[in-house]
Symmetry: C2
Subunit: 352 residues, 2 copies
């Protein structure tokens, strides 16, 4: 499985798609990427498991990271890739092997840019956070990620999506007292009491704050509810699982405080939480990126790995080919023209 960097980014995408790399099974693809870039004299290549980092060392005043994950969700009868007119279909075509193809094309061509570049290819993005290769690298070799700005080449339909919202999950619960349902007044119904939790959710006014010029949109939602002991028993517990998506002007701690305050009077247990990321579009490297890519940047509402860069103090944006709403779908695909457009704009920006 050889990756020829002289192929077009579109052709390279097809090659990448055809090397199956479901999370946990990235070795063959990581090997192919390492082989393709290891001989390039302008890059210093590091490997850590199936994470590959390649860096220019031109001594420029500014350094940017271009990052992409090389794993995919499980194959769903959508391999190998195939072309239908100007659209390339196949598992990972949109999320995000077309972005990885652009990274590889840039790694091959950009020998002496206006800014130093760090290319990061990482594994296990589509699974639980603890397996994420970028997280592992940020803990074991943070110096390899040092930069002034980062572009995560996730699918955004070639429009800059700035920062990302945070996400927090909590279990909000009520307690009651069991009783036989034929004598329900001897107990206290925890499911009925959970009506109070749903009241709070129904009345909740979600903020839509503007952060660094981009409009975010928060949301507080029940994503699960459970309660009940048996068909003839008044239940003594009801648990509502709540997901709070919060704008990047709140920290995880502030988000947790807000959720506890919102559900004051109920038992609240925060089960997991991931900070968002501010877009940081006013920093010089970001500003030049925005100018070079064109279009109107918008806020990223879903959580992405840009938050990891934010946690390292590095402003980051999402930018790449492919419609993000097609990700994880059996019919995921990417327009060839968008791959070419991303490559051309990124090339122009790095050369400027």
């Amino acid at each position: 499985m050889e990756l020829d960097l002289s192929l077009s980014a579109a052709e390279l995408t097809a090659r990448l798609v055809d090397i199956e790399s479901v999370s946990g099974n990235e070795r063959a693809l990581a090997d192919a990427i390492a082989a393709a870039i290891s001989g390039l004299p302008h890059l210093t290549v590091h490997r850590d498991g199936n994470v590959i980092v390649a860096r220019t060392t031109l001594g420029r005043a500014e350094r940017v990271v271009l990052a992409g994950h090389i794993d995919t969700v499980p194959v769903a009868g959508n391999l190998p890739s195939h072309l239908d007119g100007d659209l390339l279909y196949g598992c990972g075509s949109c999320d995000m092997k077309s972005g990885v193809a652009v990274q590889l094309r840039l790694a091959g061509q950009v020998t002496a840019a206006a800014r130093d570049v760090t290319y990061v290819f990482y594994d296990c993005e589509e699974v639980e956070a603890e397996r994420n290769g970028l997280l592992r690298l940020s803990r074991s070799r943070p110096e390899l990620l040092a930069a002034d700005f980062a572009v995560l080449m996730e699918p955004t339909a070639a429009t800059i999506e700035g920062g990302c919202q945070g996400t927090l999950r909590a279990e909000v619960s009520t307690r009651g007292e069991r009783a036989h349902s034929a004598r329900s007044w001897l107990g206290s119904n925890a499911i009925h009491s959970a009506g109070g939790i749903l009241d709070v959710l129904r009345a909740y006014q979600a903020r839509q704050p503007v952060v660094d010029g981009l409009s975010y949109h928060e949301g507080l939602n029940a994503v699960g509810i459970s309660g009940g002991v048996a068909g003839n028993v008044i239940p003594d517990e009801c648990v509502v699982s709540v997901n709070f998506r919060f704008a990047p002007d709140r920290s995880s701690q502030q988000a947790a405080d807000h959720v506890r305050e919102t559900f004051a009077g109920f038992d609240v247990r925060i089960t997991d939480s991931a900070s968002g990321a501010r877009p940081g579009l006013s920093r010089p490297a970001a500003a030049s990126f925005v100018a070079a890519m064109g279009g109107e940047p918008r806020a990223k509402l879903g959580w992405t790995d840009v938050a990891r860069f934010d946690a390292l103090g590095i402003p980051a944006v999402n930018y790449g080919p492919g419609d993000p709403t097609l990700a994880h779908r059996r019919d995921e695909h990417v327009p060839l023209a968008q791959i070419a457009e991303c490559e051309a704009r990124m090339l122009a920006w790095l050369a400027a």
Copy 2:
């Protein structure tokens, strides 16, 4: 395993308890009961599986049924029986082998009473309704159950409990539209909508009607709730399982109509329903029974097999030794004095 009907009812209870008869395993006990009463010249005995019916045929104007189930819930380390002072412990001692012992004592002694008597011993009361021996008999040989009045000798602490409340279960549900929880406003949250169902339950005013002189107490309760797809998905369905306990002045159909009306605007699916039973204490046979037993009759709030007699047009009450709240407990027991009291009062009534 021989049952000697000349033993006291208390001693007989201990013998019955020591013949294990968890639902489905009643054969040995049914055999012993059949053997004990088959030789009695004043009784005509019928057997259908593990259901045994014994009838006097004196040609009296009135006939009464004395019924008891011979099965128990699973043994919980509480066999064989043992005495502790005046209390007999053991699986089934309270629910309801002490009642069955009284039935057997009466069957042995009452050779020529003022009313004809039908003794019914039946299996599988503690499991799903379709296996219930009394239900089977009411379908296959309803003429064997024909009577003017029935006493179900379930534990009531030797106080008459009249009729019983009906029970109905329904699934009340809401529909929404799935969306990613990062863009919750693109969907519609079915769990939030279920707040409307809980509003109805919290505001519900349960009736406490007096029926045939006894005070019932209805209840409408959630006994289960479930909803949720994944931690990042706005759920499109939420189901609340509701249990309606209704007084015997409503039929099952009226109860279903009431539940549908109460949850107007929501999807309501009735999943099962069992009618209650009016106490019928004003009928002559019942009135003489109330007078003979003494004490103030109260309403039976839980559902019992008296409802099957009601469905056959036979007024019925619950009356027997043992505290009903001890039923199904590992430490279930019965006061010996209550067994003797029940036997004496029943004897007096039948002889009158």
